[in-house]
């Protein structure tokens, strides 16, 4: 049984060499030495099948095939083990101190006034308002006269308003955009006008010569004071949070009638009274009211047919309340230690 002995010897020799193979290239060599199609030791041995007597052939064939399968599977197994070892070795050498910080790209910050303006714009856009724009250097007529602010009104004093000439001012409110819009188009009107306004105050913790407003104006048939209430209530619930309540109380502006100061419930103390709300539970946010008929007279609207409401809110104030800013100069100093918080 020379053939079968030979097979046994090949098997034993393979076992010895396999034990010595330490890397994947020697495994590949082993594979070639035993199983290569042309010169593999087992391949050549198996070719001797035809030389064997017929009665020995089945046993030889069976043994040879079993050996071949064993060599293949043991090589594959060994290779997988080696690959695993190599991978872990590589993982070990490649390991990082992952607790080091990531390479963070520098990302810029938006100004809080821009953030608040965009948030308020989005609330009104969703309600179907159109955004309008107007000049900051404005006529005295649009800023005062057309808004029913008479020539003797104290807000026209040089101590309160910046004048370029008798006829031109730095607008003290965004309300002149109301006039520009109404002079340009008939009702229905539903607009907001964000923009920069100026009042002659020195910059201190609670005043600024320049600040930002959003004016709102709705004129249509059947617009009521209740619509104003509902609109501002929605604004405040969306901007400050669903729990925020809105309160209108009577006030006076020459261009609205009835007029209202608009308060929101103080979220700092949940309306129990604190420093922010001056212990009233309410924070004054803006002025609003039903458009005064004298304003319609100025722009030629039919007061019998149309009614409407207007409001003017200070974006800076909304931003300060929402983000807890207690000092106005922070908004204009452009200190990165402040701005990078947004």
């Amino acid at each position: 049984m020379a053939g079968i002995d030979d097979l046994r010897q090949i098997g034993e020799r393979f076992d010895g060499e396999k034990a010595r193979a330490a890397d994947r290239s020697s495994l590949e060599e082993l594979h070639a030495r035993y199983l290569s199609r042309k010169s593999g030791l087992l391949t050549l041995e198996m070719q001797r099948l035809r030389e064997l007597p017929a009665d020995q052939r089945p046993a030889f064939g069976k043994l040879a095939n079993r050996l071949k399968q064993r060599i293949e599977s043991e090589l594959a197994e060994r290779e997988a083990a080696l690959a695993g070892e190599e991978r872990s070795a590589r993982e070990e050498t490649e390991a990082l101190d992952v607790s080091l910080p990531g390479s963070r790209p520098r990302i810029g910050h938006r100004h809080p006034i821009t953030l608040a303006r965009r948030a308020i714009e989005d609330i009104f856009l969703a309600m179907g308002y159109t955004v309008e724009d107007g000049p900051e250097v404005e006529t005295t007529y649009n800023n005062f006269d057309a808004l029913n602010i008479g020539p003797e009104h104290p807000s026209r004093d040089e101590s309160d308003t910046f004048y370029i000439s008798d006829d031109i001012v730095l607008r003290t409110q965004t309300s002149p955009v109301q006039i520009r819009t109404m002079e340009r188009q008939p009702p229905p009107i539903r607009i907001i006008c964000p923009g920069r306004v100026f009042r002659r105050d020195e910059l201190d913790a609670t005043h600024s010569p320049m600040f930002h407003q959003i004016e709102g104006l709705v004129v249509d048939e059947g617009i009521s004071f209740g619509d104003l209430k509902g609109t501002l209530d929605l604004l405040h619930r969306q901007f400050f949070g669903e729990r925020t309540r809105t309160r209108l109380r009577p006030s006076y502006f020459p261009f609205t009638e009835p007029s209202a100061e608009v308060d929101v419930s103080c979220e700092f103390c949940e309306s129990r009274g604190c420093r922010v709300c001056k212990h009233t539970g309410w924070i004054e946010m803006m002025g609003a009211g039903m458009v005064h008929p004298a304003v319609y007279d100025c722009v030629g609207y039919d007061t019998a047919r149309y009614s409407g409401f207007a409001f003017g809110l200070g974006i800076d104030r909304y931003a300060m309340l929402k983000y807890g800013i207690d000092d106005i100069p922070l908004l204009f100093q452009n200190d990165m230690r402040f701005l990078s918080q947004f």
Binding site: P101, R106, M127, L170, K229, P258, K278, L331
Partner: protein, 670 residues
């Protein structure tokens, strides 16, 4: 305006505690800013709006409370004991300018003893912030605070000719007022005069010579109505505001003039003794008629969003002193003489709304169809802001005023808008350039220990030709957050130039580069214009030292108004190429005076449709070549939409490019 709770209780019964009263008043439109104890009394601090001069008194506030609580008001006693001698036998009053003085009432009280006021009166006045002077002056101040009508008491014996004339001052006339100041008058000033001279500034302050003194025995008591505009103009011109002028400016109650006179006369006699001469001189040539305004019932619901019961409407009006008379579709309402702010139907509706309660009208939303729109520039502006945030730039906001010289240096030749009454002579114009502001912001941060700063601002500049929006970007220090893994890149000219190019690349713009007409505040050798819309560069050494910068500052100024007008390019996608692109690198020797721009232009002159990109990847200033050249390596990218380009085709393209380059003296580096 300080209001004493005890004083209010003279007029009506308050069913609630002071703090609650304050809240009710606030919700009715008289904002109570503070509630403070004052001994046994409580004082409310009221912020009375400019239209409600009638509430600058205890009776006025009591009237509001009578509507709030629906209770009656007790009127104060207003009667003076009279003697038998008639006033008009000893004194005369005449109004010369009936436009500025509609009514003048006078009382003559003889035999008073001027002295200190009793304790109760001193305390009451103190509670509302008035210092006691003497019993006669205190009586007039008491009535001022109680009824809101300013009065003046003269020492009658100092009035020359025993007469009062209300007239305009003569030019050059002077008057020493009670505060001791010599006032120069002119013919716009309404004065109270005796036979010889001005003795008081009408509605503002009395004269020193005729004031009540310890020696006074006879008093001429004035209660008048002066024109609000005239009082305001005079008070403003001479910079003198008083309790009296404050009320006349807002419109006093012409009917109250007579009542207040009687109330004060009675009080003076009670406190200082004496007797009133018989009769009042009441010069009131043209009585002011109350307005009658129609109010339609349906209009209330339309305007406010809910109907108010008729009984409630009438109740509110009556409590506030209005007289409603039922008409076909509502009421005709007679307005009281103390309400100058009621002129139209809407004004009446507001009274109903205030006292019915703003909180009682439903909160609704307007019903409409249609949709809203953002500004046309919105999409572009959003893209700019998003991109800038991604590039690491933080938005700033600066006050829009500027210094004349600085602005002129940064925006030469631009005429600024001058403010007539600036807050500071150092910043009297509106900005014509945003650059000084952003440099100031960089400086602020560097001075506070920061080193790596990138800022931008989008704001208007205001040349006289019209306001325009601009974008300014400024960066200094490392372009990225510090990291230990690799060294940081410092912001430099090319970094900022690339950022501006990236920022503008989505807009419908042609950005031809140029080094002509560069802004003077930029380094002349390190700045460039991109089309007509942007200039980019490093800050000029002169401004570096003026701002005391010790590190490189890069600045870009962009005409964002124009960029946003052009808008974002419409997106029209091209198919992804099916055939591979082929890159060909050329290593060139370029004369030192030839800028890269000339190289690219020459490459494009070859007119190869398949050339899809050209970019530099290496530049050597010195090497094994003549010092008058630099070496430049560029990559050309070729691609065809129809087929894979062959080597020989690409070689042919490269040859054609080289031929163009040779025309401007550029050779392949051997």
């Amino acid at each position: 305006m300080k209001i004493s709770i005890q004083w209010l209780r003279d007029f009506l019964d308050l069913p609630e505690a002071p703090r609650a009263v304050g809240e009710r008043l606030t919700l009715a439109g008289l904002a109570v800013d503070g509630v403070a104890r004052a001994g046994s009394d409580t004082v409310l601090e009221l912020d009375v709006t400019a239209n409600r001069g009638d509430c600058l008194s205890h009776i006025g506030v009591a009237r509001e409370l009578s509507a709030i609580y629906d209770v009656d008001i007790r009127s104060p006693e207003a009667a003076a004991a009279e003697g038998s001698a008639a006033m008009d036998d000893v004194f005369a009053i005449a109004i010369e300018d009936a436009g500025l003085c509609r009514r003048y009432c006078g009382r003559y009280i003889s035999g008073v003893r001027v002295g200190p006021s009793p304790e109760w009166l001193v305390r009451r006045l103190e509670a509302v912030g008035i210092r006691s002077v003497n019993n006669v002056a205190d009586a007039t101040n008491y009535v001022l605070m109680e009824l809101g009508h300013p009065l003046h008491a003269f020492d009658a014996d100092t009035l020359d000719g025993s007469r009062i004339v209300v007239r305009r001052a003569a030019a050059g006339e002077t008057l020493r007022t009670i505060d001791g100041d010599e006032r120069r008058l002119d013919d716009t000033t309404l004065v109270i005069a005796d036979a010889r001279r001005a003795v008081a500034l009408a509605g503002i302050m009395g004269g020193l010579d005729t004031e009540i003194s310890d020696r006074t025995t006879n008093v001429l008591l004035e209660s008048a109505w002066f024109d609000p505009v005239s009082v305001r103009k005079t008070a403003k011109r001479i910079r003198l505001g008083t309790e009296a002028s404050y009320r006349f400016e807002r419109g006093a109650d012409v009917a109250m003039a007579a009542t207040a006179l009687e109330r004060a006369a009675g009080l003076i006699i009670e406190l200082a003794g004496g007797v009133a001469l018989r009769g009042v001189i009441d010069v009131y040539p043209a009585p002011i008629e109350p307005d009658r305004i129609a109010l339609r019932r349906g209009r209330i619901a339309e305007h406010l969003g809910a109907a108010v019961p008729d009984a409630e409407v009438e109740r509110v009006f009556r409590r506030l002193g209005f007289e409603p008379r039922v008409s076909a579709d509502g009421w005709t309402v007679r307005t009281p003489s103390h309400r100058h702010d009621i002129a139209r139907e809407e004004d009446l509706i507001e009274e109903i709304a205030r006292h019915h309660g703003y909180e009682r009208f439903p909160a609704t939303l307007p019903v409409w169809s249609g949709q809203g729109r953002q500004l046309p520039s919105h999409a572009g502006e959003t893209h700019v802001r998003d991109t800038l945030a991604g590039l690491g730039y933080t938005e700033t906001c600066s006050i829009a005023f500027g210094n004349r010289d600085t602005q002129a240096a940064f925006a030469p030749g631009v005429e600024p808008v001058e403010i007539r009454n600036p807050l500071s002579e150092d910043a009297p114009i509106l900005r014509t350039s945003l650059v000084p502001s952003v440099l100031g912001s960089i400086q602020w941060n560097l001075n506070r220990g920061l080193r790596d700063v990138a800022l931008y601002e989008i704001a208007k500049v205001y040349p006289t030709s019209g306001e325009k929006r601009r974008l300014v970007m400024a960066a200094t220090g490392a372009a990225d957050a510090p990291r230990i893994h690799q060294s940081t890149v410092e912001t430099d000219f090319f970094r900022l130039k690339g950022e501006v190019e990236a920022l503008l690349s989505r807009f419908d713009l042609v950005l031809a580069e140029s080094t002509d007409a560069l802004p003077p505040y930029l380094h002349p050798g390190r700045s460039v214009r991109l089309g007509a819309v942007a200039s980019v560069g490093e800050l000029h050494a002169e401004w570096e030292s003026r701002f005391k910068f010790r590190q490189k500052i890069c600045v870009a100024e962009i005409d964002i108004e124009h960029v946003l007008e052009r808008g974002l390019r419409a997106i029209a996608t091209a198919p992804i190429p099916k055939y591979p692109a082929v890159r060909r690198d050329l290593s060139l020797l370029v004369a030192r005076r030839t800028p890269y721009r000339d190289v690219v232009e020459a490459v494009h002159r070859a007119g190869i449709a398949e050339l899809t990109d050209v970019f530099p990847f290496d530049r050597l200033e010195r090497g094994p070549f003549s010092a008058s050249f630099y070496s430049l390596a560029v990559t050309l990218v070729f691609q065809s939409g129809e087929r894979t380009l062959t080597d020989s085709e690409v070689q042919g393209f490269a040859e054609r490019v080289l031929a163009e380059l040779r025309k401007i003296g550029i050779e392949l580096r051997s």
